[in-house]
């Protein structure tokens, strides 16, 4: 598999999946690993991963289903990395990469046809006067320059069958907006798990499961997920996801 520029191949041992990474344009991080683990995917699940980046989340869950997994990524450079990672893992028959704005996903995947949507979207709102370079790949992946959470929720809801589920990782400081936006698109939040760097620290990630056309209310707050133990090493739960 030819690598370009500063690319390298990382392997997530617990899944056996190899991913082409590039620190200058995009490298998956713990967020993707936790989201893939949080998503409920079984062998009958038709899956779409929105804002797929270099394809990490979609590839991690691909092993758990026998159905098609579609990765949607705006940036040609990242979509190309994802495409090559798909080949690297011999998954071309079941995993396809769409290089498009996620807002156009319905042009590529039929509405009401998907069991699971996963999404690790840009986390940061763009406010007037914010300083960031809109031309860099990293800025596009981190900031809502070309998409926003309302679009993610709207497109996800349209893709999902009734009862299908969206799994999202995001920043907890936007919690209220996330829950409200999901509900506004008939995606009822069902399970929430907060991720804390370590005991005694505030949460810095939130994992949300929402069900299309589910009953409102009754959300469950799962046990806290701590990333590091008092010794500064990964907790057993996180270590199992990464190393084993």
């Amino acid at each position: 598999m030819p690598l370009k520029d500063d690319e390298r191949i990382d392997q997530l041992h617990s899944s056996g999946i190899k991913i082409i990474q590039s620190p200058s344009v995009f490298a998956f991080s713990l967020d993707a690993v936790l989201l893939a683990n949080f998503a409920e995917v079984n062998r009958k699940s038709r899956v779409v991963d929105l804002a797929a980046g270099n394809g990490a989340v979609g590839l991690f869950v691909a092993r758990r289903t026998e159905q098609q997994v579609t990765l949607v990524e705006l940036q040609p450079r990242l979509a190309d990395m994802a495409e090559r990672s798909v080949a690297l893992n011999g998954l071309e028959d079941r995993v396809d990469v769409v290089n498009a704005d996620l807002a156009d996903t319905w042009d590529y995947v039929a509405k009401d046809s998907v069991d699971v949507v996963t999404c690790n979207p840009p986390y940061f709102k763009v406010r007037p006067g914010d300083v960031q370079n809109p031309n860099t790949a990293l800025a596009l992946a981190r900031h809502e320059l070309r998409t926003n959470f309302d679009t993610v929720a709207r497109i996800s809801a349209g893709l999902l069958k009734t009862g299908g589920k969206a799994f999202i990782v995001h920043r907890p400081d936007r919690l209220e907006e996330l829950l409200h936006t999901l509900s506004a698109h008939q995606l009822a939040p069902k399970r929430i798990r907060f991720v804390y760097p370590k005991a005694g620290k505030e949460a810095n990630m939130v994992l949300i499961e929402a069900r299309r056309s589910g009953r409102e209310g009754g959300v469950r707050i799962l046990p806290p997920l701590l990333v590091y133990g008092p010794d500064g090493e990964y907790t057993d739960e996180v270590a199992r996801l990464i190393h084993d």
Copy 2:
């Protein structure tokens, strides 16, 4: 202090406050202790406690302020218990009890005059066909028979000065509704803390701080609060609130 029926006096050692309790009509529980601890009250804080029950939350925070604390309770029997607990602790000069529907609080306390509202409201929605006896004191305290969260948020927002804070304990299965309702009344959620019975269990309480006319977004998810340790005893954090 004369006690009635099955009343007893409980003392929260960490505050030194004595509270008249009655298992058949109302006894404060850990929820009240955690809410009082979560609320930021300083010596200049004018405080109103809505749905005050037997007065536990208001009495616990009264020691921390030199200003007036008003307890609002619908049920005459509970308001009477709270009144006698106020006297038992010699706080008649600074703590008053209003026996009224919390919806009428503005008739007793001026709008835009309060720094801190605390509330441990009825947790459970009333749905058609639900079986409960609306005549019992416990049912009124637990179920939204005579009030609801929208009213709590509306009345709290009206009482608070700009920048004043509401502190609420509730059930996490209503999280989305709680956050949305607070925001709808210009109470911006600022800090949230989930309470878990023990490690590995789902949260069964949530503490929310919301600021009147605060900027939307930027909510902080505080470290998880675990009630019991692996040994089945209170964790150090909770034990300190109750025993010391």
